[in-house]
Symmetry: C2
Subunit: 459 residues, 2 copies
């Protein structure tokens, strides 16, 4: 497709060289870190203000042309792909940190600021932004997918850490949601509605985020287990015991092997838990010792907690690199990633069933997880030329999601729906999915905002 000439002229007049119809720019916005791909968009726009986003949306709404927001392109379910053509709105030039308010433990940023850029800026303030999905994603993108990651067990997800937004609606209206107060009962929670809406209800052009005090003391440790069951049961027991874990991450034996192959990690090739403790020196010691005792009950070995910054950084670099490292288990493969999240008591059975199903299908699928939330991922490594294998992997992923729904869990703990999980929404939400569609229709009557994602197709 190509952009209709009237719209191209109108946007060109507005954005000058910040609108591109050139193939390299278009192709650059057609890739994805995931299994999902799509044809390139018809144009890429790089707005620098809410007013420009508003003008672009008003023009696209009039022309009935889709608008797809783009942060850093690190989403895993094809959220930022222009599956129905149109204009990709690349927000990477809206990357200013607008105001840090240490006394309120808040910061206001533009959507293109990445989490690492924010934390670099905050380093000297004694504060930090904890949400950590691994990728150096943009904060607008993280809000839009309701991202979380390794620290959510302690600090919550984007749902808990976004206080207020500026949003441009489909018709170009600019609204502000939420407040800078710690809580509010003044009407519908519009902030909570736009967080996780994946750009289908509006474009986020500003975020006010909750910050947290840098912990006085941090200690981390890795602990090996003889069986997967013992590792996962230790997680459930730890959470139920109320030890305030800052991180508690599971990696299976295959992942440990991938770390060894990819970066010579030198881990025993068994299941592991990677944990972190934040607090006063007294509290960290108390928590680490309590966890160590529990891990021992489940046969955990080699638990040795240390507050050495370098060792800790290496540990979390390794954990965050799990997605890429896993490909060392099957060079040339592509990955289909799953993201179920279940109630804590259901976690051991859910992981065990996933393992059994992957084995029965003859697939390679390492498992890692933010298990303190009941959230785990498998990366099903498939031969991109082998249609039967891809189909088998998709069936394994679907069964995992269906089992999660059956025990009161969710098909996505943190990656979102995009194009990848849309087929499972009716199974999870029933008639509630239609309610989401009704809200979308009310706020975006022409269906221009990231169409074809998250909600049901219009009748």
């Amino acid at each position: 497709m190509s952009l209709n000439p009237d719209l191209a002229a109108r946007l060109g007049a507005l954005l000058q060289d910040r609108l591109s119809l050139a193939t390299p720019d278009l192709v650059q916005h057609a890739h994805s870190e995931s299994f999902h791909n799509a044809p390139p968009p018809d144009a890429v726009a790089w707005p620098v203000s809410a007013e420009e986003v508003s003008a672009i949306l008003a023009a696209c709404a009039e022309a009935g042309v889709p608008v797809v927001p783009w942060g850093t392109g690190t989403s895993l379910e094809g959220h930022a792909l222009a599956t129905r053509g149109g204009v990709t709105l690349d927000l990477s030039r809206m990357d200013r940190i607008l105001e840090v308010r240490p006394g309120d433990m808040q910061v206001t940023v533009q959507p293109g600021v990445t989490r690492e850029a924010l934390n670099t800026e905050l380093r000297t303030t004694g504060l930090f932004f904890p949400v950590d999905p691994g990728a150096n994603a943009s904060l607008g993108g993280m809000a839009s997918t309701r991202a979380s990651g390794t620290t959510a067990v302690r600090y919550g997800t984007m749902r808990d850490n976004v206080l207020a937004l500026e949003v441009v609606l489909a018709d170009g209206r600019i609204i502000r949601t939420g407040t800078r107060a710690a809580k509010s009962s003044a009407g519908y929670d519009l902030t909570g509605l736009f967080v996780g809406a994946e750009g289908t209800l509006g474009i986020i052009t500003e975020l006010t985020l909750r910050l947290h005090g840098q912990p006085e003391e941090v200690a981390a440790a890795v602990c090996a287990f003889d069986t997967l069951d013992h590792a996962v049961e230790c997680v459930t027991a730890t959470i139920q015991s109320g030890i305030p874990m800052a991180r508690i991450e599971f990696v299976d034996a295959a992942s440990a092997r991938a770390f060894n192959l990819h970066s010579g990690a030198g881990l025993p090739e068994t299941p592991h838990l990677m944990v972190e403790f934040h607090g006063s020196p007294v509290a960290v010691r108390e928590d680490a010792e309590a966890f160590g005792a529990l891990a021992g009950e489940f046969g955990g070995q080699g638990f040795d907690w240390a507050s050495n910054t370098e060792d800790r950084a290496r540990l979390w670099r390794m954990r965050h690199g799990a997605y890429h490292a896993s490909f060392a288990l099957r060079p040339g493969a592509r990955g289909i990633v799953t993201d179920v999240c279940v109630p804590m008591s259901e976690l051991p059975a859910a992981v065990a069933a996933a393992v059994a199903d992957i084995e029965a299908a003859g697939l390679v699928g390492p498992i890692v997880g933010h298990v303190g939330d009941g959230n785990f991922h498998t990366l099903l490594l498939v031969d991109p030329e082998n249609a039967a294998e891809i189909a088998a992997a998709k069936q394994v992923a679907t069964r995992m999601a269906e089992r999660a729904i059956a025990v009161g869990g969710t098909i996505s703990g943190e990656h979102g729906i995009g194009v990848g999980k849309r087929g499972l929404m009716a199974a999870q939400h029933g008639e509630g999915w239609q309610v989401m569609g009704a809200i979308k229709a009310a706020l975006d009557p022409r269906d221009i905002l990231n169409p074809g994602k998250l909600v049901p197709d219009r009748n």
Copy 2:
């Protein structure tokens, strides 16, 4: 008004003696704890299941008759008053605790269960439900107003503690929102949308709530300050220091006097902070000592922390009784209650401005607050026969709300909008208020669910 006879017959056939058109029942549902009153509804219905609620809503939608949900009648902004007539849906008979799941730290309840009934049931489980607005409200009502109270500084509000809902929509459809997983990125946060919607988008018929471990150790203390400024500045410093307060409540000198008059509390008639610490014995000691040192810096006196259960219960009974005790300052008065919440750094100035304005207006208005959240209340005590005084008090309340908006705060920290604060919604939300109206119109096209509350009037 009276109910249209066809509808009365249809509902009567469904509910038998659980539908009443009798004056005493109607009058009983026309009162409110607040300044707001309204004519009685045309009928009161006591459904016992989601299916009955669904049948009532379908019938009322067809007839275009308003439906107003009722929990315990303790809301403060007239949420449950049938201002446009219709059927009051009294949910007090849907009062079953359906399932406690200790391993997941969750409970599923019907909406008519009160928070005290829930905590009585939980007593032996080692778990508790922390949200505590003072009144023994129903959990459905607390969710609908996004209630919080004294413990929100530690455990969050209803927004943070409701995981999943069953909701009956205006057309009678029954949906389930959320999941029992700790987090989810599977689509719009419908749970968050219905929490705080004050019954305007649907009727909550089941709630799954997050529970918390009963703290191993609890200690509480009260601390007197010589000036209001010192007390409030101590709060700001405490929160900024990161001491994990379980409660930190402010009462002003007038409130101390009211406690003395009302129940012989024997407090010095100066501003006070009432605080509580939860955790391990070591952590409670560390936190209490850190707070004590800070309070000392601000001239706090008489700080003496104790873990005696009876003393603690007396302290919080007194604090929870503040609303009623305050009338001892002016017998025969009625109260206009305010509920602003501001960013922490703005709290000292906001309280000081409120005090100055109340004094300038010649009013009696004691102040209490959940100041760890930046939330404080004034109870403006007015002569119900004195129109000029009532008008002056309303102006003071409006100016307080406008000042809160001006510094990034909210017109309601926890009481909600109802009929009382609707006139301030445009000032706080601007065009965002119209977005709330659009969502309401999409989900309740005939405007039968608690009409005349929260959202703008239909064109």
